[in-house]
C-alpha cells in the first residue's frame, strides 16, 4: 500500500453528512496509480487460441513499443471501490437540486437509458448496411421530423455532437448561404449577454464578431442593433428567452430589421426549455436554431458530456446541410450524401445517435401536451422560486421571468463583502448545487437560477429557505460564508495555483 493510505479519510458516501476538518496532507481517495499493486488485474482475456506469432515477425521492430504503458494494476474489487468512492464525492442531478442556470438540469428519465442500451441500438456498427439498420434509420428520420415540428423549421440535421458544434454548423451554413448568393458576408452580431460559445463559434467560422449592448430592461436594444447591422452582417445570434431569463418582446422587430439588411436570424436554443410545446422559433422570425438535447430533451449530461446539438433551418438553407441525410422512400430508409453546396460533415459517422435515441424516447413519451407542460412547469417553477426570494436577494430585472432568473449579490458585496461565488459555495453546505455565477457578464455578481420543471414545490421552498439563511449569515457572520464550503469533501480550492503550476497528470 502507499504511504498515504493510513491517513486517508474515508468519505461516508453521503454528500450532506458534515465531515470533521481534515488535516493537511490527507487525500480523499488515492489515485488509481497509488492503489496499484504489480500483478493485480481486473479483467482477463480468454487464452489465445490462434497460432502465436512473434510480434517482431509481424511488425517492424522499430515500431514496436519498448516498455508496456505503465498503467495501474488493480483488482476488480479495488477498481469498483475506487470509482464508487469517487462517485460519492459528487453532487448530481439525481441526488441534489441542481439549479444551474442555462444548463437545464432536469430529471433524466430512466426508461430512456434502458432504451438506449437495447443491443439493437447500442451494438449497431455505424457502417452496418442500410439493410441491417432500418430501425435506427427510421428513428433518426422520425426524430428529424419531430424536431422540425417542435422548432417550426423545414429541415433538421442531427449530426452536431453538442450545442457549440451546432452553432458552428449553422454559422458555416450561413457563410455558405451568402457565398452562394455571390455576396459573402464577414460579420456576425451577438448581444453582450450571449453565451461565450456564440462569439467563439463565430470566430472559428471565420467571422468578425460585433457585440451589441442590451437595454436597461435586459433586452436587445433595437437602436443599438440598427446601428450594428449592415449589409456585411451574415447572421444575428439571439438567445430567446435571453440569458437573463427574459423573453425578447421585440423579437419580430429584430427579425424584420436583420432580414431587411439581408441577414439571417439565428436562435441559440440553449433556453428552449421555456418554449417547448408553447412557442416555435420558426414562428418568431428565426431562420436557424440549435437545441441542446442534454438540456431541453432530458439526456443525462454525464459530468460534462455527451450532448447533442441538432440544428433546424428554414427551406432556403437546405442545400447547405451537412451530410449524410436520412431519407425515406416507400417505407425504406437510406442515408444520402448531401449536394454540392453542403458544408460537408462536422464529425465522423452520423452523430451522437445514442443521445438522439434518448431524446426521441423523451419526446414520444411526452407528446404535444406533455411538451407544453414542460415549458409551463419550468416557467411556473422559476417564477415561484423568484417570488419566494423577493425579500432575500434583489433581481437583475424585476419582472416575471421565463424559465430562469438572475439574482444579484451586488448589495451584499458592497455592504458585507459577500460575492456571488461565496453564496454559491455556501449553498453546497446546505446540500444544493450552486446556480450559475458571474454570468451573464452584464449583471454584477450574478446568480443565474434555473429550477427546471421536474423539481417539486417543496424543493424550491427548501432552496429559498437556504438562501434566506445564507443572506442572514452574510450579514451576521460574513466570514462563515466567505470561507464556505465547510461540509464538502474539500474546502475551497486554490485555482490560482492550479493554473500557475499546472499538475495535469500523475
Amino acid at each position: 500500500m502507499t504511504p498515504q493510505s493510513s491517513e486517508i479519510s474515508r468519505p461516508s458516501g453521503l454528500e450532506m453528512t458534515p465531515r470533521p476538518p481534515h488535516s493537511p496532507g490527507r487525500v480523499l481517495e488515492p489515485l488509481m496509480k497509488e492503489l496499484s499493486e504489480p500483478g493485480r488485474r481486473a479483467f482477463t482475456l480468454p487464452a489465445l487460441d490462434v497460432p502465436k506469432q512473434k510480434p517482431e515477425d509481424l511488425l517492424p521492430p522499430s515500431l514496436i513499443r519498448k516498455e508496456p504503458a505503465p498503467l495501474p494494476e488493480l483488482s476488480e474489487r479495488d477498481l469498483v471501490k475506487h470509482f464508487m468512492r469517487l462517485a460519492h464525492l459528487n453532487f448530481s442531478g439525481e441526488t441534489n437540486f441542481y439549479p444551474l442556470g442555462s444548463c437545464t438540469m432536469k430529471y433524466n428519465p430512466k426508461v430512456n437509458e434502458e432504451i438506449a442500451g437495447l443491443p439493437g441500438f447500442s451494438k449497431l456498427h455505424p457502417y452496418a448496411s442500410e439493410e441491417a439498420s432500418q430501425g435506427i434509420l427510421q428513428l433518426l428520420f422520425e426524430s428529424e421530423r419531430l424536431f422540425r415540428e417542435i422548432l417550426g423549421m423545414d429541415a433538421v440535421t442531427l449530426q452536431p455532437a453538442a450545442g457549440a458544434q451546432g452553432e458552428l454548423t449553422a454559422l458555416l451554413m450561413a457563410a455558405a448561404f451568402h457565398e452562394a448568393k455571390g455576396k459573402p458576408r464577414r460579420k456576425v452580431v451577438v448581444p453582450d449577454s450571449a453565451h461565450g460559445t456564440n462569439p467563439a463559434s463565430a470566430a472559428i467560422a471565420g467571422f468578425e464578431v460585433v457585440e451589441v449592448k442590451s437595454n436597461s430592461r435586459g433586452r436587445v436594444s433595437l437602436s443599438a442593433l440598427a446601428e450594428a447591422v449592415d449589409d456585411q452582417v451574415a447572421l444575428f445570434m439571439m438567445t430567446n428567452p435571453n440569458t437573463l431569463g427574459l423573453f425578447e418582446e421585440e423579437v419580430l422587430e429584430v427579425a424584420a430589421l436583420v432580414h431587411e439588411k439581408g441577414g439571417l436570424m439565428y436562435l441559440d436554443g440553449a433556453n428552449m426549455n421555456a418554449l417547448l410545446g408553447l412557442l416555435r422559433p420558426g414562428d418568431m422570425g428565426f431562420d436557424m436554431v440549435h437545441v441542446n438535447i442534454h438540456k431541453t430533451f432530458s439526456i443525462p449530461h454525464g459530468s460534462g458530456g455527451p450532448g447533442g446539438g441538432p440544428v433546424g433551418i428554414k427551406a432556403a438553407l437546405k442545400p447547405f446541410l451537412p451530410g449524410p441525410i436520412v431519407i425515406e422512400k416507400e417505407g425504406v430508409y437510406r442515408l444520402e450524401s448531401p449536394g454540392p453546396l453542403s458544408i460537408g460533415r462536422v464529425r465522423s459517422f452520423t452523430g451522437n445517435v445514442g443521445a438522439t435515441v434518448r431524446a426521441y424516447a423523451y419526446i414520444r413519451s411526452l407528446g404535444a401536451e406533455g411538451l407544453r407542460r414542460v415549458s409551463e412547469g419550468a416557467i411556473l417553477n422559476a417564477n415561484y422560486l423568484k417570488a419566494l426570494l423577493r425579500d432575500v436577494l434583489p433581481m437583475a430585472v424585476d419582472e416575471h421571468c421565463m424559465h430562469e432568473f438572475i439574482a444579484t449579490a451586488k448589495d451584499l458585496k458592497a455592504r458585507h463583502g459577500i460575492k456571488a461565488m461565496d453564496i454559491a459555495k455556501r449553498l453546497l453546505d446546505y446540500g444544493f448545487y450552486a446556480p450559475t455565477i458571474c454570468f451573464p457578464l452584464i449583471v454584477e455578481e450574478a446568480l443565474m437560477v434555473e429550477p427546471s420543471e421536474t423539481e417539486s414545490r417543496q424543493t424550491l421552498e427548501q432552496f429559498a429557505e437556504a438562501l434566506k439563511r445564507i443572506t442572514q449569515e452574510a450579514r451576521e457572520i460574513p466570514s462563515k460564508v466567505q470561507m464556505a464550503p465547510h461540509r464538502m469533501p474539500v474546502a475551497r480550492l486554490d485555482e490560482v495555483q492550479a493554473a500557475r503550476e499546472p499538475n495535469l497528470r500523475w
Binding site: M32, K33, L45, L48, P51, Q53, P55, A69, L79, F83, L86, L89, F91, I115, G120, S122, L124, H125, P126, A128, E149, A161, A164, Q165, I204, F207, V209, L246, F247, L278, L279, D283, S298, H301, G302, G304, G305, P306, R345, V346, R347, F349, A361, S365, G367, A368, V374, G377, L380, A387, H400, T436, E453, T454, P485, M488, L493, D494, P502, R505
Partner: protein, 446 residues
C-alpha cells in the same frame, strides 16, 4: 407520461404566491401576434408502450453480435468489461453537469485527472485534455492549433487518413484561411521520399494516421523527422488499442496525438457518442482546446482537483478562445479510465497482442481462398485490406443473411479499389468464429 410533479393544488399555491391569477399573466411579454404552438406529433406513450415501440425499432437493426462483426473502419468491436458499464451507469457521474463547482464535483474531477494521466501514459505525450467530441473533430481542432502555433497556413493530410476525418477537417478549416493539402499515399501508406517535396516552410502540420484508414502502419519516424526539419508539427491520429504494442506517438516525436477513443470500453452506438482523444507536448498546453483538470490544494492544504487553465475557453475568452467547445464526452472518458484501469499494464499489452494475432490469423486464412489477396504490402495491426474476386457489397449481403457483418467496401472511399474489402479482427473473435467466417466467405464465393 411526463415528469412534472406540479399538481393542480401546487399550481394554485404557486400562482397565488407569485401574485398572478393565471399562468398566462406570467408570459405577457410574449407578443400576442406570435402564434401558440399546436404541435402535430404522435400522442404521448406510457412506459410499456414506449418500450414496445422502441423495442420494435431496435429489433429491426441486425448483425449485432460482436463476434460476427468483421467491420471496423473507424469504429471497433471489443469486449467491454461489466465493470465499465456499471460505473458509467452510476447517476452520481451520469447526471452531473460540467464540474463548475469543484468542491461538489471531486469525483468527476479526480476521474478526469486520472483519464488525462492514463491517456498520457499510453500515448507517451506530456499532457492531455479530458476529451473532445470524437476523433474527426479532435483532428480538426489539432489542425487549428497547429496553424495558430506556427503562424502558417497549410496543413498536409495524408490520403491514408480516414476520409471522414479529412472531410471534417475541410469543413472546420473552410473559413479559416488555412489550406488543406492532400499528401499522397500511393501503396496504402505515405512514401516519405515523395512527402519530403510537399512539406515546405508554410506547412503548419503533417497529419498521419497510425495505423491508417487502410489498417497499414505509416513510416511515422521518417515523417516526424521531415515535418520537424521544416518547422511543421506532426499530428498523429492514433487507435488507442494499438498502443499496447505499437510505439507511442510521444516516442516518435509527434507534437499532437488525437484519435477515436471509442475502442476504450465504449459501445458502437451507430457512431456516437464516442470519445475525442487529444494529447500533446507540454509547450502547446496553453493553446489546447477543451476542458483540462488540474490537481491543486484546498485552503486546508489537502489535495483536490479543479478545472484549470480556463482562460483558454469560450466562457472567458469568447471570440479569442482556443476553441468553441463547451460540452465534451466526459462520460466516455470516465468509461475509458475504468477500462484502462481494468486491463492494467499487462492486460493492455496482452489485448494489443491478441488483436495483432487474431487479425493476422484471419488474414492468413482468408488469403488461402483462391482469388483473395492482400492489397497493400505493409505491416498492419488489427485491420487489413483485401482484394476480393467479387463485389464486396454483394458479398456482405450474403453474409448478412447469416448474421455476419462483413468488411467495409473500399470503393466507397476510393473508386479504384473496386473490389477492396477492409476487415478487422480483434480479441473478441475466437478462432472458431474466424474459421466460421472464413468458411462462409469461401462458400459464398463459389
Amino acid at each position: 407520461m411526463d415528469f412534472v410533479p406540479i399538481t393542480p393544488n401546487d399550481r394554485k399555491v404557486m400562482l397565488r404566491e407569485i401574485g398572478v391569477s393565471s399562468f398566462e399573466e406570467l408570459i405577457q411579454s410574449v407578443p400576442k401576434i406570435i402564434p401558440r404552438a399546436k404541435l402535430k406529433i404522435p400522442d404521448a406513450l406510457s412506459e410499456p408502450e414506449l418500450l414496445r415501440h422502441c423495442g420494435d425499432l431496435a429489433g429491426r437493426n441486425r448483425a449485432l453480435d460482436p463476434e460476427r462483426c468483421f467491420l471496423g473502419a473507424g469504429a471497433y468491436s471489443h469486449w467491454i468489461p461489466s465493470v465499465v458499464r456499471y460505473i458509467t451507469s452510476r447517476g452520481e457521474f451520469l447526471t452531473a453537469y460540467t464540474p463548475y463547482q469543484a468542491e461538489a464535483s471531486q469525483g468527476t474531477l479526480q476521474a478526469m485527472y486520472e483519464f488525462q494521466s492514463l491517456l498520457c501514459e499510453i500515448t507517451g505525450m506530456d499532457v492531455a485534455n479530458c476529451s473532445l467530441y470524437e476523433g474527426a473533430s479532435a483532428l480538426a481542432e489539432a489542425c487549428l492549433l497547429a496553424a495558430r502555433e506556427t503562424g502558417r497556413s497549410r496543413v498536409l493530410i495524408a490520403q491514408s487518413v480516414h476520409p471522414e476525418y479529412r472531410q471534417t477537417v475541410q469543413t472546420y478549416l473552410k473559413q479559416s484561411g488555412i489550406r488543406v493539402v492532400p499528401l499522397e499515399a500511393p501503396h496504402g501508406a505515405v512514401d516519405p521520399r515523395a512527402a519530403e517535396a510537399q512539406v515546405d516552410s508554410d506547412t503548419a502540420a503533417v497529419v498521419v494516421q497510425m495505423p491508417n484508414a487502410f489498417g497499414c502502419l505509416e513510416p511515422v519516424e521518417e515523417l516526424s523527422a521531415l515535418a520537424h526539419r521544416q518547422g511543421a508539427l506532426l499530428i498523429s491520429v492514433i487507435n488507442p488499442i494499438s498502443l499496447g504494442i505499437l510505439k507511442p506517438p510521444g516516442a516518435y516525436g509527434a507534437d499532437i496525438a488525437v484519435g477515436e477513443g471509442q475502442p476504450l470500453g465504449n459501445d458502437l452506438n451507430y457512431g456516437g457518442p464516442y470519445l475525442g482523444l487529444f494529447a500533446c507536448r507540454k509547450e502547446l498546453l496553453r493553446k489546447v482546446p477543451g476542458r483540462i483538470v488540474g490537481m491543486t490544494r484546498d485552503s486546508h492544504g489537502r489535495r483536490g482537483f479543479t478545472l484549470t487553465l480556463q482562460t483558454r475557453e469560450q466562457h472567458i475568452r469568447r471570440a479569442k478562445a482556443t476553441s468553441n467547445i463547451c460540452t465534451n464526452e466526459a462520460m466516455m472518458a470516465l468509461g475509458a479510465a475504468v477500462y484502462l484501469g481494468a486491463l492494467g499494464k499487462e492486460g493492455f499489452r496482452e489485448l494489443a497482442l491478441h488483436n495483432l494475432q487474431k487479425a493476422h490469423y484471419c488474414r492468413d486464412r482468408l488469403t488461402e481462398i483462391p482469388g483473395v489477396r492482400q492489397i497493400f504490402p505493409g505491416s498492419f495491426f488489427n485491420e487489413f485490406a483485401l482484394e476480393m474476386p467479387v463485389d464486396p457489397e454483394r458479398l456482405n449481403r450474403t453474409l448478412l443473411a447469416e448474421g455476419i457483418l462483413g468488411g467495409f467496401p473500399l470503393k466507397r472511399w476510393d473508386r479504384k479499389l473496386a473490389n477492396g474489402w477492409l476487415l478487422c479482427a480483434t480479441e473478441i473473435h475466437s478462432r472458431a468464429s474466424i474459421d466460421k467466417f472464413v468458411y462462409v466467405v469461401q462458400r459464398s464465393l463459389k
